[in-house]
């Protein structure tokens, strides 16, 4: 698809920004995201090419503004919905519960 991911040769992205002594993961949620992605595809019957394409199908503005592992998780959410494994509504309901627990115990 002629998507925003296909950026080889495009102008306008500015300099390559590097981070000295960059850690493998920047936050605990990135570690969890990597692990969730690592195991889920084969268990729900999707292949790596379908995972890549799910990232390509993210809305262009999301693709350019979300961080790398955030894109992985949003794309995985698409595949979970399409395979009937989990709906976005289920995920967001659980997020609301978790946020409430935090507020209660914070």
């Amino acid at each position: 698809m002629d998507g925003i991911h296909d950026i080889g040769g495009m102008h306008g992205f500015g300099p390559v920004e590097r981070e000295e002594n960059e850690p493998v993961f920047h936050a605990d949620w990135e570690r969890r995201a990597f692990g969730v992605e690592f195991f889920t595809g084969s268990r729900i019957g999707t292949n790596g090419d379908q995972s890549r394409h799910a990232i390509e199908r993210l809305p262009a503005d999301v693709y350019l503004t979300a961080s790398y592992y955030e894109k992985w998780m949003l794309a995985l959410q698409t595949l979970l919905e399409e395979t009937g494994t989990l709906s976005r509504a289920e995920i967001e309901a659980r997020m609301a519960e978790l946020a409430n627990e935090e507020t209660d115990h914070g």
């Binding site: 990597f34 692990g35 889920t40």
Partner: protein, 196 residues
């Protein structure tokens, strides 16, 4: 390591990942222990030190270098490195006439067994957009000036081969042991955005 401090609300994405992990655990699709193990593997068991050992061996041993350039995956496996995102490797030799650099313009393909997971800049739009079109300008930003008569070859990993660059041994490598040479090899040298 953990970005979340108490009394600060978790970000949307942190909550989303936590919710997805919980729900997938409840469905028996993922396990907390397995997630910890895989993150630990990629934080601690692989990284550019692996690739540096391959390069140092190639600098010291002409027969090894010949095997590495002819069929990289078995030669890399001789040193104990193999697996996901490195099943079918090709090693690209830098020479006085040719400088190689790798990229994945469409996503983030990278040779995990020898270099570990890629740095953020490698996966970012500026590098992916620019390195194929103006490699010399990007390399100069990394501090690498390539002479006009040197060919720059940019390898866009658009299929299943994973690439690694074999840098030229620097002058200071003379007389050093293989173990000492490992310290002269950088991740960026094996991507091709540094001399070695």
């Amino acid at each position: 390591m953990s970005g979340h401090k108490h009394n600060e609300p978790e970000s949307d994405i942190a909550l989303r990942v936590k919710a997805m992990e919980q729900l997938l655990t409840e469905k028996g699709i993922v396990e907390t222990n397995a997630i910890d193990l895989v993150a630990d593997y990629f934080e601690n068991k692989v990284g550019p030190r692996n690739g540096a050992r391959v390069v140092a061996r190639a600098w010291c041993d002409a027969d090894y270098k010949a095997r590495l350039l002819a069929d990289a995956s078995p030669a890399i496996a001789e040193l104990g490195y193999s697996g996901l995102q490195g099943e079918d490797m090709v090693v690209l030799e830098n020479t006085p006439q040719v400088h190689n650099v790798i990229v994945c313009t469409l996503c983030s393909c990278y040779p995990w067994p020898v270099l570990g997971l890629p740095p953020t800049w490698y996966k970012s739009p500026p590098y992916r957009a620019r390195i194929v079109r103006e490699p010399r300008a990007v390399l100069a930003e990394f501090g690498l000036e390539v002479a006009d008569d040197v060919e720059v070859r940019v390898w866009d990993s658009s299929a299943e081969i994973r690439y690694m660059v074999l840098p030229m041994a620097p002058e200071e490598s003379a007389g050093k042991s293989e173990e000492e040479l490992v310290d002269l090899v950088s991740r960026d040298g094996m991507i091709g955005v540094a001399a070695h």
